[in-house]
């Protein structure tokens, strides 16, 4: 009998008992999922317009524009870093494509390609600056945020004499690029923006990378404990640089949507959005300290963001309250995440 209490059988019982609860609690997106369902029920009950399919399509569109960025930002956060330049980088990317195509009278697809190269280079630069200076990414990207915000305005004014870029609506390739980045798809009578499908695709790919590839393992490891990761042979610097490049890729995609949705770009746009991306990721269960989170969670976070953003309008409330609700959701999410992490680490 005494044997049994100290043998493996006893250890098994203990594991089995705490197993199901822990399994559930350690899912990073659980809190966000509950929050999303609660908000959905709430707005359905208070705002009649909310349940109309066209309104729902609008909610999904709002969610997708932030959700695409939240994919890259959440992977970076799981990898333990922030990118405060993400918001203005979207604008930079759109400006590069627009100014290059217009000034050189190129097919817009050439501008799209050049913008991809430039934006990825910006992301890699963020990563390299972070690796070289060994400063917190918060500081490094705060610096690149300010520089990009200034350059967006400065370059645009110098080139066009205006704060907005010239319209590229009539240029070669615009129609096909709009199809890819900013068209509406008819889904049984309801128009759904193509970004919604891209958002889902990005989230699926990111989830696959995180959970089923070596790169995903490395992302969790460099965010969870960079020293341990390095000691077992994970290329920490390379992984982090790739994550900054991933954010840049999402920024490029979002920038292309912006450009082909409106044909012209306001150079001062994007400032402040970086926090919304981070908020989506955090509401979705990413820990600010890194090493924990999910792309699906970030997608749910973006969906919550979209629901609150549009739900307030459908409920006929003053939209000024949007930030208030967002703040409350953020607070609730962080408290839940904190509890989850304590449980996971115990």
């Amino acid at each position: 009998m005494t044997q049994a209490t100290t043998g493996p059988a006893a250890a098994d019982e203990r594991v089995a008992r705490r197993d199901p609860l822990r399994r559930l609690l350690v899912r990073p997106e659980l809190g966000a999922l509950i929050g999303a369902v609660a908000l959905f029920v709430f707005f359905s009950a208070t705002a009649d317009a909310f349940l109309q399919t066209s309104s729902f399509s609008t909610v999904l569109y709002a969610s997708s524009t932030f959700g695409i960025m939240a994919v890259g930002v959440s992977l970076l956060m799981i990898g333990g870093e922030f990118d405060l330049s993400a918001g203005v980088m979207v604008t930079s990317s759109a400006l590069v494509a627009s100014l290059v195509s217009f000034q050189l009278t190129l097919n817009v697809w050439a501008g799209v390609a050049i913008s991809l190269a430039v934006t990825l280079a910006l992301g890699v630069l963020n990563g390299l600056l972070f690796v070289w200076t060994k400063l917190p990414s918060f500081i490094v990207t705060l610096a690149t945020f300010l520089m990009l915000a200034g350059a967006n305005l400065g370059v645009t004014k110098a080139v066009t004499g205006n704060v907005a870029s010239d319209s590229i609506r009539d240029m070669d390739g615009f129609a096909s690029a709009k199809d890819v980045f900013a068209s509406e798809v008819d889904m049984g009578g309801v128009n759904v923006n193509v970004t919604v499908f891209w958002w889902i695709a990005f989230t699926v790919v990111a989830t696959w990378i995180l959970l089923r590839t070596r790169a995903g393992n490395w992302i969790f490891a460099v965010g969870g404990n960079a020293d341990s990761a390095r000691a077992v042979g994970v290329p920490v610097a390379r992984t982090k640089i790739a994550l900054f490049a991933g954010v840049a890729f999402c920024a490029w995609f979002s920038g292309m949507h912006l450009l082909f949705a409106f044909a012209t770009v306001q150079s001062g746009e994007g400032v402040g959005n970086e926090f919304f991306y981070i908020i989506c990721a955090v509401i979705g269960g990413c820990l600010l300290t890194g090493g924990y989170g999910s792309a699906i969670g970030a997608a749910i976070g973006a969906f919550i963001f979209g629901m609150v953003n549009k739900g307030i309008v459908y409920a006929d409330w003053n939209p000024d309250w949007f930030r208030f609700f967002l703040g409350a959701a953020l607070l609730a999410a962080t408290v839940v995440n904190h509890l989850v992490r304590r449980r996971a680490e115990r």
Binding site: P8, A11, D12, V15, A16, D19, R22, R23, V26, R212, T213, R214, A215, G216, N217, F220, A221, G224, N225, D227, S228, A229, R230, A231, V232, G233, V234, G291, Y292, R341, A344, E345, R346
Partner: protein
């Protein structure tokens, strides 16, 4: 037979701090070499050199007869030198199986992880070392300190380590858990691995060690085979000759002459005093 790892007259400075001077060490297959010393003696510095985290400033470092100068832990790993660090052995929030394969993930084409294989292998390897984990998906942070060390050791053994370097694996553990880790050290030796076991506890070192290197303020103050030294001598040596003498003087001053003489005597027999 050539030593797996051989350090000769190795030294290391951190700026103006002399962390290590003139340290020599040899580990052969199936041998446990214990490195003992008080806090700040330079033990961690020594193993960081062996592990490839730091490069030595003087002396030579040979692996199986070939001089080496590692630029990253990966280089050392590739030569079969695996290091288990006290604090940075694992990523606490990651599942046990992901930790087990971290940095050496098993893949099945296209970068896809072979999750089933890794889960199964982790469970089996741990079972072979006497740890029965039903749920290898739990975050490794939920395991006890001893279990975590054992996972790290099992991992190193599984990935074909020839030399296992353990930095104070027993320091934070209770008596029973320390016992589990010590048993693994013996197991690793029986499998033919060379082990460098760092500790400041002579009672942990003596039962498992074949040879003992004692460091004090970055310098070696003793390098003995087990036959040459008793547990008591090892303990006394660990405490350091100077401290022992000082203690003798203090005791003398307070009147415990008999004890003081005994300590003095012991210091002399150990060759710790100048005369």
């Amino acid at each position: 037979m050539t030593a797996l790892v051989k350090l000769t007259g190795v030294g290391k400075d951190y700026g103006s701090v002399i962390a290590l001077r003139d340290v020599s060490l040899e580990v052969a297959a199936g041998q446990v070499v214990c490195v003992l010393g008080d806090n700040g003696a330079g033990k961690s510095t020594l193993i960081k050199i062996v592990a490839g985290l730091h490069r030595h400033d003087s002396g030579t470092y040979e692996v199986q007869g070939e001089p080496v100068a590692f630029s990253s832990p990966r280089d050392a790993l590739d030569l079969g030198i695996a290091t288990v660090y006290q604090d940075l052995a694992v990523v606490p929030l990651m599942p046990v199986w992901r930790n087990f394969f971290l940095g050496s993930e098993k893949r099945r084409g296209l970068g896809r992880l072979d999750v089933d294989f890794m889960r199964r292998t982790t469970r089996d390897e741990l079972l072979a070392m006497g740890i029965d984990l039903r749920d290898v998906d739990q975050p490794i942070g939920t395991l006890s300190g001893g279990e975590r060390q054992c996972v790290a050791i099992a991992r190193a053994v599984y990935f074909g380590a020839k030399v296992l370097v353990l930095d104070e694996p027993t320091a934070a553990l209770g008596v029973k858990q320390a016992g589990v880790v010590l048993r693994y050290i013996v197991q690793a030796r029986e499998r033919g691995l060379g082990v460098v076991f760092i500790t400041h506890n002579p009672h942990h070192a003596y039962p498992v060690g074949d040879r003992f290197l004692i460091l004090n303020r970055g310098r070696p103050i003793g390098y003995h085979d087990k036959d040459d030294i008793t547990r008591e001598e090892l303990t006394a040596l660990m405490a350091g000759g100077a401290e022992l003498e000082q203690l003798a003087h203090e005791l003398e001053a307070t009147g415990s002459t008999a004890t003081a003489r005994a300590l003095d005597e012991e210091a002399r027999t150990l060759g710790l005093t100048d005369d």
